[in-house]
Amino acid sequence: MTVFNAFMCVIRRNLVTIIIFTAITVGFSLINFASGDSAAAFTAEKPGVICIDLDNTELSKSLVSYLDETTSLHDSSGSDRDDDALFYREVCCIITIPKGYSENISSSSDGGIEIRTTGDSRYTLVEMSLARYMRVQYYYTGQGLRGEALAKAVGESVADNVEVIMKAPKDSTALSKAATYFSFASYSITACILFIICLVLTSFNDRNIFRRTAVSSMNYNKFSLMLMFCCGMYALAVWFAFTVLGVVLCGSALLSVKGLLFAAGSLVFTICILCLSFLLSGVLHSRNAVTGIVNVIALGSAFLCGAFIPTSMLPDAVLAFAHVLPAYWFIKGENEIAAIESLSLQNLTGVLVCFGVMLCFALVFAVSGLAIASHNRRRE
């Protein structure tokens, strides 16, 4: 109880710092989480597009209406704001229908349309759809159709009519959102646990306090065990908070066996980070060093392992290096859980391997931490 009280005393003394740091990391996770609907049926991807109709005729309105069906049409909010939306990939292109478009389409198939684009794969889809519309319109113009009849004929011809079969597991979108949430949470969990535990243990490892404890009547092993227990309780509280937050944000998708797997993965990761914090607290002796190293480890892991950027976008060399970081195996495991279609030992092998590697990391950190603690004790 004495150790627990001392632990709580250190926590209380650093309460403002702890609250600010925890609130910020939880806030990052919350803000980063974008809500979305889960779907078991195929829904066509609708890239964001801004369309500026300067012609404002029946034909141009018909084109805008087609774009509204096939894309996610955003309102134009002035050139500066439109350019921002393009730069930050909120939209993939800005389509300007020029004045005189209705007259242009009989002489040229492009109708004089101007496009500002990011040139990414979403634009390929928009360009394809637009080109299809313009070609059909040009064809019917050649057939002598004009005005309302032309718009109607084009509209009917470009309507989607192919059967699409979706072979996705139920709630796949919700599960992939859960995987995204836990991937980002890897940063928050790392920062929260490493920072606070290292901060507290650094206070206990202060030379004078360490010596005072060593010469006291308290059994040192019991003292260490109690300290570990307190740190473990704190780490569990952090894990529990992030899991509950995940359930609140991801909803029913996490109230399932897969939800349990997500939670189990984050628990194994939490244990791994807890062991890492024991190791670091044996090496770091000042609060400034703790803040610096924690930020480098948390942000470094997050950038290199795919917490901030999807792993599919990371270079191969970075991914190869990331294998030596626990966060990589955590994020890989969570993504694999989201992709599992049916629960069987064969399908779970990949996930279990990730959990196993994280436990190995935890073991290495714990053994190294104990060795350093023992060395520090002998030195004193």
């Binding site: 710092t17 910020i24 806030g27 803000i31 195929f42 829904t43 066509a44 991807e45 500066d80 350019d83 393009l86 730069f87 930050y88 990939r89 909120e90 198939s109 492009d110 349309i113 101007e114 496009i115 500002r116 990011t118 040139g119 990414d120 794969s121 634009y123 889809l125 394809m128 759809s129 080109a131 299809r132 070609r135 059909v136 064809y139 050649g142 989607d160 009519n161 192919v162 059967e163 699409v164 079969i165 979706m166 996705a168 796949s172 979108t173 000042s286 400034n288 060093a289 610096g292 930020n295 942000l299 470094g300 950038f303 290199l304 901030f308 950027i309 976008m313 990371l314 270079p315 060399a317």
Partner: protein, 389 residues
């Protein structure tokens, strides 16, 4: 006296390993991390050919329009890598995610089987729709031509030529829209900009240490300084100048590293330097405000400053590039008072738009932010007098 204070403040700052780490080493480490993580991000968003499979069947072998269309789409500049295979293999390829989807033909009807609702899946479905509707248009148009010929008494009809002509009318000729895309579209630059902004704000850590050394209720050095005959203005200005010099040195190193890593700062280097100097001043004054207004120990102040800076960086897009735009759209007020966003936005304006009102507004906002921080700090510091005996 100002020079004396400046020299000693400089020594204090350079001898502190923690401060040197935060203001110089940490931004450099982050720059390397950004470069490693982001080096692939823009090429990965470009369109890559889509892998698909077609299930072999009698209907597929007999449907020449469909076969020809797929052949055209799998050429060198085409959209797809196509593999012809049986249903079982196609299903297992879809499960292994080695293909985006597979096509099955039943009569003239095409069915597309996919696993997700992504961009590639939508492209595949839309192309199949296009092939189907194009063939319907051609058949309908060709039939009209044939009927007209028969009605006009012309019975020597070459059906193949008619359908080829209709197909040419529909699909012939290259369609190229007028491209007015901006030249500078690399959004990885936002990461670098937010990093520069972060480095500017971290200068607050320098002033926290220096101002704490002037506060009699915080440190013993503060007590000594307060009872010395040095004026408050000379003492604080000397410290501020020293912090400014150290931070500018750190920023110069960061710029050099970013240039080495391939960052494109365009031709507006003077404006960038001007904004960085204003950003550094904002960071220094924010540090003074934290130091003066929050009554706690130096370590807690440092953590508060780092936490505030990280939160500001998060809202400016450092941990996800689109975040700045999301905040700008949904809660613009937040980024109007966020100094990191002011610096990031100013640098973005220079890169994307050029010097204009937006850049100057960001610059003025930074100056206003600095003045507010100084006024707040001064309001707390004035009237604190200690006798020198």
């Amino acid at each position: 006296m100002l020079l004396h204070n400046f020299m000693y403040s400089l020594l204090v700052l350079l001898r502190s390993r923690g401060l040197v780490f935060w203001t110089i080493a940490f931004p450099l480490i982050m720059a390397v991390l950004f470069n490693l993580a982001m080096s692939n991000i823009e090429s990965s968003e470009k369109f890559q050919k889509i892998d698909i499979a077609v299930v072999q069947s009698e209907d597929y072998d007999n449907n020449m329009i469909f076969k020809n269309a797929l052949e055209a789409l799998s050429g060198e500049d085409g959209l797809f890598h196509i593999k012809e295979t049986d249903l079982k293999t196609a299903e297992s390829m879809l499960n292994e995610k080695s293909i985006t989807g597979y096509l099955t033909l039943s009569g003239d009807d095409v069915a597309v089987t996919v696993k997700n609702s992504g961009i590639n899946e939508t492209i595949l479905c839309r192309v199949m729709n296009e092939i189907k509707s194009d063939s319907e248009i051609v058949v309908s148009g060709g039939t009209d031509v044939i009927n007209q010929k028969i009605a006009s008494g012309e019975f020597n009809i070459n059906y193949e030529d008619i359908f080829r002509e209709e197909t040419e009318k529909l699909t012939g000729g290259e369609l190229k829209f007028k491209d007015t895309s901006p030249a500078h579209m690399s959004y990885v630059m936002i990461e670098y900009y937010s990093l520069i902004a972060m480095a500017c704000l971290y200068s607050g850590l320098l002033t926290i240490v220096l101002i704490d050394n002037k506060m009699p209720d915080i440190s013993a050095v503060g007590k000594r300084c307060s009872v010395s005959p040095t004026g408050k203005f000379a003492s604080i200005t000397g410290s501020l100048l020293a912090a400014f010099v150290v931070q500018l040195f750190g920023l110069a190193l960061l710029f050099a590293l970013l240039l080495l890593l391939g960052a494109d700062f365009g031709s507006q280097l003077l404006y960038i330097i001007l904004l960085s100097v204003a950003g550094t001043f904002a960071g220094l004054t924010a540090g003074i405000a934290v130091s003066v207004l929050i009554k706690t120990n130096e370590n807690a102040k440092t953590t508060i400053m780092i936490s505030i800076t990280m939160a500001c960086c998060f809202l400016s897009g450092m941990m996800g590039i689109s975040m700045k735009n999301i905040v700008d759209v949904n809660a613009p007020f937040i980024n109007r008072i966020n100094p990191v966003a002011m610096i990031t936005d100013g640098l973005y304006a220079l890169y994307f738009i050029g010097t204009g009102s937006r850049y100057y507004i960001d610059l003025a906002s930074l100056v206003a932010f600095s003045l507010i921080m100084l006024i707040l700090s001064w309001s707390r510091l004035r009237r604190q007098k200690y006798d020198s005996i």
